[in-house]
Symmetry: C2
Subunit: 304 residues, 2 copies
């Protein structure tokens, strides 16, 4: 089953007529995770057919408005529609202060629980875990604004028994747990049958890393090493390299350098400055360093 | 020159894929007024080519999220784009508390002044005035939520002198101010020339009234008497009359009754419940009472 990423917003700071501000939905085997929530995210979810009441976990990278102004509308709408399931928000603690202040000032009682999990932006840590995946937050470099990236990674799956082989060798059921855990099998005669004759390796765990907003930095390379799909912001092309540095954003070339050094399999870039109506230059500059790069548009879907 | 109303949102409570939540822009001879500001209003302004940095006055009817959640994004975006001109917001005082709390918590310094004018929702009063128009707020009936409607009305223009006539009669320039103010002219011979021979009446002042959200009430009929264009919410059709009453909203028939009793020239209805994908029933029921009724869509433009 695919892991599927839908881009809901790809503009930086201010939306344009073609690009909303940052938001993405990651569908991991039927569980939907929302990453950032710029203004209009609930509208984009409707437009792109995201089953938006099935989101139980929201990850907010940092508290610039273009990454969270859509949250109050989203949490209100699902409340009006009668949601009962708790909603978990992973963010800087100030987000809880702001949202609860607004809800209390207006005497709004949501019919479900909002549960906040504060991000420690100074280190990498596992912030979410279920039977399929872990989510690890890691530190980005965005001036003095505490900012996190997120790595979504499938857990290692157990080895798969080759049932025909086990039957053929008449291996007792009691042994199967050990073989599944990697053990060889020793027959009654004392012959050793190597584990790899009895099992197949599961597919490699898949992974997605989200890195926005950030100046160029290599400090999280170890976290995202070998990632399948990397989203890295590329607010500017090289014509505005100085501006990127000044505002703690990245160029497409810098995003590609990160992808290259992290041995990523595929790079997608977004968070484009409104000064660009066309992002082919971003793509061109990035591909010189990391050929498998794509500039995203709202509504794009990437399968892992 | 036309007075022009653009509908930016026509859904109630929760947006749909076709309708944003409430927002409208009224262009009065080149001055743009924003009325309510649901989530995504800045996006709608871009979509419908509203010169959105030219808005200096925003009127917020009440503090339900579908009428103001777009404000934080809008005021932030125009700040990022370097606005210097003060922005006036007419609303319940809690809106200032919420917005300033959020700006202060995130250490956001807008490069322009936000000036709040608190609405007294218990009475009608002139809350804005310039050389062309007045804006009067008046009380609506929306459960326990303080809610205002707004009447935008052109000022009476002075009489227009018929220059050829004045020349023909050789009327001294000194007399013209009096004639313009309505006086007859007395010739040197003592003959009286009636004012209406010397002047033409200016066009009648045009007016627009915005009434959302409200249960059926006649208490503001005097304020909107003879209005040219009336917007009245019609969240429900008659099939949900009980629901309308319970939630302090109106049916299309009730909106039409208000238009009829106020001697309005034209009625537009909106703020449709998400349970309706089609609003022809609203239009049909309203037209039985007030034929000149139209159900709005996002992007509709009405000229007065």
């Amino acid at each position: 089953m695919d892991i599927e990423l839908t881009i809901l917003g790809s503009s930086s700071a201010v939306p344009t007529s073609l690009r909303n501000t940052t938001a993405q939905v990651l569908n991991v085997l039927g569980r939907f995770f929302l990453i950032d929530c710029g203004e209009g995210t609930q509208l984009q979810m409707r437009k792109y057919k995201i089953p938006y009441n099935r989101i139980n976990h929201i990850f907010i990278s940092h508290l610039h408005g273009d990454h969270f102004f859509g949250l109050i509308g989203y949490i209100s709408s699902i409340g009006l529609q009668g949601r009962k399931t708790p909603l978990h928000i992973y963010s800087h603690k100030k987000l809880e202060i702001i949202l609860r202040f607004q809800l209390e000032t207006l005497n709004t009682n949501l019919p479900y629980d909002l549960i906040f999990h504060y991000l420690d932006t100074s280190k990498k840590e596992i912030i979410y875990e279920d039977k399929n995946i872990t989510v690890t937050s890691f530190s980005l470099k965005h001036r003095d604004v505490p900012t996190c990236g997120f790595l979504f990674k499938e857990k290692e799956k157990p080895l798969k028994l080759i049932k025909e082989k086990l039957k053929e060798l008449n291996i007792p059921i009691a042994q199967r747990v050990k073989i599944k855990a990697g053990a060889d099998y020793i027959t009654e005669n004392g012959d050793i049958i190597a584990n790899n004759k009895l099992t197949t390796r599961p597919p490699d765990p898949r992974s997605y890393a989200f890195c926005s907003d950030t100046a160029y930095t290599e400090k999280f390379l170890d976290v995202i090493d070998n990632v399948d799909l990397l989203y890295h912001e590329a607010t500017h092309a090289n014509d505005n390299k100085a501006r990127a540095k000044q505002t703690y954003h990245s160029t497409a070339e810098q995003a590609a350098t990160v992808a290259h050094k992290a041995n990523a399999k595929k790079l997608i870039i977004g968070h484009f400055s409104t000064r660009y109506t066309d992002t082919s230059q971003h793509e061109k500059e990035a591909r010189e360093i990391f050929p498998n790069t794509f500039a995203v548009k709202d509504g794009d879907i990437f399968k892992i």
